[in-house]
């Protein structure tokens, strides 16, 4: 279906066509290059800003340096092994240890220099080592810390967001067919429920299903101790997934259905749809060719943007359900002033976003014959 749209006959005569294709190719190339450069600049500036904020422009350095000084002075003062040491020797030891620790944390370099090192490392996806955090297996590699939490987050975001997306598009489509029905009105009436975020419904669900009825767990990923049997382990995780998953779905499904429904309705009141109906085309064909086809770019955009948000996780929902995902890790990283982890999770999101936006332009050209790549640059 996608290749079919590309072969839409061009209005030009064959004589002019040769020249046209050539210039189109150049234009396409120029447009692609320009687009890539702007996106790259956007990513670099965005990531650098995140680095600056993650350090409050160097203010976090002061906090960390004070913390190091405090901790080392305290630990030496309270260690009985050093008690008989002459005070001048002890002073020297403390100074040495502080200098070591400051160097380990990289605080001996000025922040301006360090910020650019963070930036180049981030851009080359060299995520480096965390300052304070460790993964559950004891590694300090940011890559491992993030990878370890990725499955849990993807399980929660993936299942809930995908169900949410497809359920709302399909329900909306069937509602737009039965526009004005009882169920349609119910959906409109319920759409304000989406004003509340998932964690809010999460609290209610925990209260009802975990605290009062005691049928589902309060939170976490698996029971403690976890079941030994692989199948039982999987089922146990699914049981823990129910409440957070349903919270995410409930918190936006009605608004999502409402928006899609309105969107489809606007398209199904177009003249060409009326025309198709008047011609006597079966409703299924009308829907597929005249409603779904023109709305496809929007559906694809929404889906693509949804896929990249899966990566970030839901910080607060994860906190409420004690779900060991990326959102909660990012929150903990901020609490530990762990810039590499914060930057690491931002850069991956930034790259995925830039890539998606870049690819979407081409996807539009594939699914929508009206869009010609590159024609937008001469606006």
């Amino acid at each position: 279906m996608a290749t079919e749209t590309l072969t839409t006959p061009a209005p030009e005569t064959p004589l002019v066509k040769q020249k046209f294709t050539n210039s189109t190719f150049m234009r396409l190339l120029r447009y692609t290059a320009l687009r890539l450069v702007t996106l790259a600049i956007t990513v670099v500036v965005g990531v650098y800003l995140t680095i600056m904020i993650a350090n409050m422009g160097g203010y976090v350095d002061t906090i960390m340096r004070n913390e190091v000084t405090d901790n080392i002075t305290q630990s030496i003062a309270s260690n009985p092994a050093y008690r008989n040491m002459a005070s001048s020797v002890r002073e020297k030891l403390i100074k040495e240890k502080i200098a070591n620790e400051v160097e380990r944390l990289g605080l001996n370099q000025p922040f301006a220099v360090r910020s650019f090192r963070y930036l180049t490392n981030a851009l080359t996806l060299n995520l480096g080592r965390a300052i304070n955090m460790t993964s559950d297996h004891g590694s300090k590699q940011v890559r491992l810390i993030l990878l370890e939490r990725l499955p849990a987050t993807l399980l929660l975001t993936g299942t809930s967001e995908l169900i949410l997306f497809f359920a709302s598009v399909f329900i909306a489509l069937s509602l737009s067919r039965r526009y004005g029905s009882w169920f349609d009105k119910l959906t409109i009436a319920l759409s304000p429920t989406s004003a509340a975020p998932p964690w809010f419904y999460g609290i209610f669900f925990i209260l009802i299903f975990a605290a009062v009825l005691r049928v589902l767990p309060f939170g976490g990923l698996v029971d403690s101790p976890p079941p030994v049997n692989k199948l039982a382990y999987g089922l146990n995780i699914l049981k823990h997934l129910i409440l957070p998953g349903i919270s995410v779905i409930i918190s936006s499904i009605f608004l999502s259905i409402y928006n899609w429904r309105t969107f489809f309705l606007i398209y199904s009141s177009e003249d060409y749809v009326e025309m198709a109906k008047a011609k006597g085309l079966p409703p299924r064909d009308v829907e597929r060719r005249y409603i779904l086809r023109p709305t496809l770019p929007t559906i694809i955009t929404n889906f693509a943007l949804l896929v990249i948000t899966l990566w970030t996780g839901f910080t607060i929902t994860e906190t409420v359900f004690l779900w060991p995902g990326l959102g909660i890790t990012l929150f903990r990283a901020i609490g530990f002033y762990d810039t590499p982890v914060i930057v690491g999770s931002t850069i991956i999101y930034a790259y995925m976003l830039a890539l998606t936006i870049f690819l979407l332009d081409f996807v539009y050209a594939l699914v929508d014959p009206r869009v010609k790549v590159g024609s937008g640059s001469s606006r």
């Binding site: 702007t38 956007t42 965005g46 904020i53 993650a54 429920t193 809010f200 929150f331 999101y349």
Partner: protein, 447 residues
């Protein structure tokens, strides 16, 4: 003006809009009441106050109205004082120096549970000699239990449950059960009927007096209950209303107005201004919104007003700037703008008098609909432990409750009360916003 009247008439046809409007007006009323009755400083003082402010309240008391829904009635908390006449006090002078002071209080106990604690606070007026008091307890079945005999030195506090002598005399650590239980019952059940607390004191010098305050800490307290620190939850529930509304409305207003003005300026001047605005919007999409708020809260300050400013700053350059821009691009070409340009209107005049007013029908629903998200944003930050350190807010109550395991321990009221208020607020604005959108947005008018 006529148009606004028309909108209001149209609103009337939407029951949901009327409901939303009613909720918002109710919330504004509550907010005004809270601000008038509790000054800002007083609210902060009470909220941050410890035992010295809240000593009269029981810990973890559920709200009093729970008794309506339960067949097992739990005791309510109360406080009586000998000085304001709520306890009977009679002073008889025996001689020039010595006089007896009798303070009694009788009350009907008709509950099915035992109270938490009973406390007596004595405030004597002493010149040289300490007065002496003996406390006794009369049960409905006629038993008289000796509680304590003590000299009242300065400000004295007598806690029934924690008095070791009383515990040994009653032969139990659970003093409340021993004082209220029916001795004939096999399982501990409270004996219902009239109880009497009798304090007979003696003062040994002229001018010496005894004042007593009897604090009865039951299982239930007030309209909203209390938390771990004995604080009356009515305070944060009431005072959280103006804060939530202020945060939501200010953020929504600031964000949507600034977004619109910036979009208008960008479209009008075009060129590099427009390009810059678009680039900033793209960069802003890369920045992690919640993470930045968390960072500011962790590293810098948790002040709610700083958070408000940053939330506005990060929300200005969002997707809606693009939506506005595409509409402005269209209206920039329309003939009335051309006419304005022809007679020499200045750029600022065109932007603020011609371009922006046309957008108000689109702005208002967007503004109203975005209020809940900001109200919930404040609560979300509080749930993460980044709530304002000094202000009583709904989110702080939820955070305290979750942190204390209120859901595990069955103290549901503590979580439910602020969440219901949040829900009502979110609903009110969302309902009104939806209806306004359907009235004012021409694309939706017939759908």
């Amino acid at each position: 003006m006529k148009k606004i009247k028309e909108w209001f008439r149209a609103l009337w046809h939407f029951p949901s809009a009327v409901m939303g409007l009613a909720i918002i007006i109710f919330l504004l009323g509550v907010a005004a009441y809270a601000l008038v009755t509790i000054p800002y400083k007083e609210a902060v003082r009470l909220w941050r106050g410890g035992e010295e402010v809240w000593y009269k309240n029981p810990k973890y008391a559920a709200p009093a109205w729970l008794n309506f829904f339960s067949t097992k009635k739990q005791p309510l908390s109360f406080t009586v004082d000998s000085e304001d006449g709520s306890m009977t006090k009679t002073v008889t002078a025996n001689s020039a120096d010595i006089s007896t002071v009798d303070i009694t209080y009788s009350f009907d106990y008709t509950y099915d549970g035992f109270p938490d604690e009973m406390i007596l606070y004595f405030t004597p007026t002493i010149i040289k000699k300490f007065p002496f008091v003996s406390i006794s307890w009369l049960t409905p079945d006629g038993r008289k239990i000796r509680i304590a005999d003590m000299a009242v030195e300065y400000k004295a506090t007598f806690r029934f449950s924690q008095d070791k002598k009383l515990q040994t005399r009653l032969n139990t650590e659970n003093v409340m059960q021993a004082l209220f239980a029916d001795p004939k019952a096999e399982t501990p059940t409270p004996l219902k009927g009239a109880y009497q607390l009798v304090i007979s004191g003696t003062t040994f010098e002229a001018g010496s007096q005894i004042a007593a305050q009897f604090v009865f800490q039951g299982k239930l307290f007030g309209l909203a209950g209390t938390d771990k620190y004995r604080r009356d939850l009515l305070l944060p529930l009431l005072y959280g209303t103006p804060i939530a509304l202020a945060f939501g409305l200010l953020a929504a207003l600031g964000t949507s107005l600034l977004t619109m003005v910036i979009a208008a300026i960008g479209t009008w001047y075009g060129g590099w201004v427009d390009e810059l605005i678009q680039r900033i919007t793209a960069i802003n999409m890369v920045l992690p919104f919640l993470a930045i708020l968390i960072m500011v809260g962790t590293f810098y300050s948790r002040s709610i007003w700083l958070m408000l400013g940053i939330a506005i700053l990060l929300s200005i350059f969002s997707g809606s700037i693009m939506t506005y821009r595409s509409i402005f691009v269209q209206s920039k070409e329309s003939s009335y703008i051309e006419a304005a340009r022809a007679y020499g209107a200045s750029s600022s005049r065109i932007i603020f008098s011609y371009l922006i007013p046309r957008m108000i029908p689109l702005l208002i629903p967007a503004l109203v609909s975005s209020v809940p998200s900001f109200v919930f944003l404040e609560a979300s930050l509080a749930v993460l432990g980044l709530g304002d350190p000094i202000l009583p807010t709904w989110g702080k109550v939820i955070n305290d409750a979750l942190g204390d395991g209120a859901l595990y321990q069955g103290r549901y009221y503590w979580v439910v009360e602020p969440t219901i208020l949040l829900m009502i607020t979110g609903f009110g604005f969302a309902l009104l916003g939806f209806a306004l959108d359907r009235i004012l947005n021409p694309r939706l008018r017939d759908i």
